[in-house]
Amino acid sequence: MAISKDLVAASATPLVLSILSEGENYGYAIIKRVHKLSGGQMQWTDGMLYPVLHRLEEQTLIQSKWRESKTGRKRKYYKIKKEGTKALKEQKNQWKVVYSTLRQLWESGPCLT
């Protein structure tokens, strides 16, 4: 089962912010982590993550820095900012409302009367 494009796009911001809230990271590793956590069901076109990261940076939720890794490869690392943590909290609350609404509907079963 592949997740629909719209849903992937909508969940991109909370996913990225959540991963970055664990510590700074770079694009390739963020994609790999989402892939692993979703059991391969959340398929991003890899390149599409970067415009999302740049948008979040423009909104000053995250910041970036070019740095050399231990293996000598140059990577752009992203780090969450205070505003980002705040935005993530807000996003979490919103997703919780959506999730609980759907769950109540699905758990009560279809109403046929």
Partner: protein
């Protein structure tokens, strides 16, 4: 023989054609691509296979450039506005330069015994044309060589038709006013008493026309630059 670095540099230059992607954006994508290729080679894929899969996963260049355009558009617009302001300042500089030259010419002419408002009027008109030409070439040179704006030649090409039309109209109007003054044909709305008034009037009209047309041209330029131009990229 498959040359991985050569393939990557072709892929890079393909992306660089898009105005939406800056060189730092492309660096970041390349870093991702190389990382993916490395990990694919770990599972015993050849360079060629790894490159093909990695570029496929990264996404079609045309779509990538569309996505980047959405983000970079605002940034680019602000950049363009700052170039515009630079342009206006350059124009003002050129205008002052031309005025200085024309004043010098008038002084030289007066000292050589050439007098008469008609000749002085023509010197003024000549200086305006000089300003136009100097500004255009100065601006073109700065944009091409110093600022190295990507896709500048294409932008100029797209603008040329509209700008040409406006310039022809502008020059025609200025010429009409100046020739009317030169040949003592009164300009509607004002009946000059002597040739001095006639020249003054012609110059006033010219300045008035400039003040109308300059903002119009600037607004047209801004509208034109606002359009996203992300389809200049070849699809892979």
């Amino acid at each position: 023989m498959f040359d991985l670095n050569e393939k990557i540099s072709t892929w890079r230059s393909n992306l660089a054609q898009s105005q939406a992607l800056g060189s730092s954006d492309i660096d970041e994508l390349e870093s991702h691509l190389r990382e993916e290729i490395e990990s694919l080679k770990c599972i015993k894929l050849s360079d060629e296979e790894a490159f093909l899969i990695a570029t496929y996963r990264l996404g079609d260049t045309a779509r990538l450039s569309d996505e980047y355009a959405k983000i970079n558009l605002g940034k680019r617009f602000r950049q363009n506005v700052s170039w515009m302001i630079t342009g206006i300042l350059t124009y003002l500089l050129a205008a002052h330069f031309a005025t200085a030259i024309s004043k010098g010419c008038v002084l030289l002419a007066a000292n050589s015994g050439i007098t008469g408002y008609r000749s002085l009027g023509f010197i003024g008109f000549g200086s305006q044309i000089l300003t136009l030409i100097t500004t255009f070439f100065l601006g073109y040179f700065i944009c091409r060589s110093i600022l190295q704006i990507p896709g500048f030649r294409k932008q100029i090409k797209e603008l040329t038709t509209r700008m040409l039309l406006l310039t022809v109209l502008l020059v025609f109007l200025i010429m009409t006013v100046v020739f009317r003054a030169a040949f003592h044909i009164p300009v509607p709305g004002f009946r000059p008493m002597n040739i001095q008034q006639n020249v003054t009037q012609a110059l006033t009209y010219t300045k008035f026309l400039w003040s109308i047309f300059l903002p119009v041209i600037l607004v047209m330029l801004l509208i034109n630059l606002r359009k996203p131009n992300s389809h200049g990229v070849k699809s892979q």
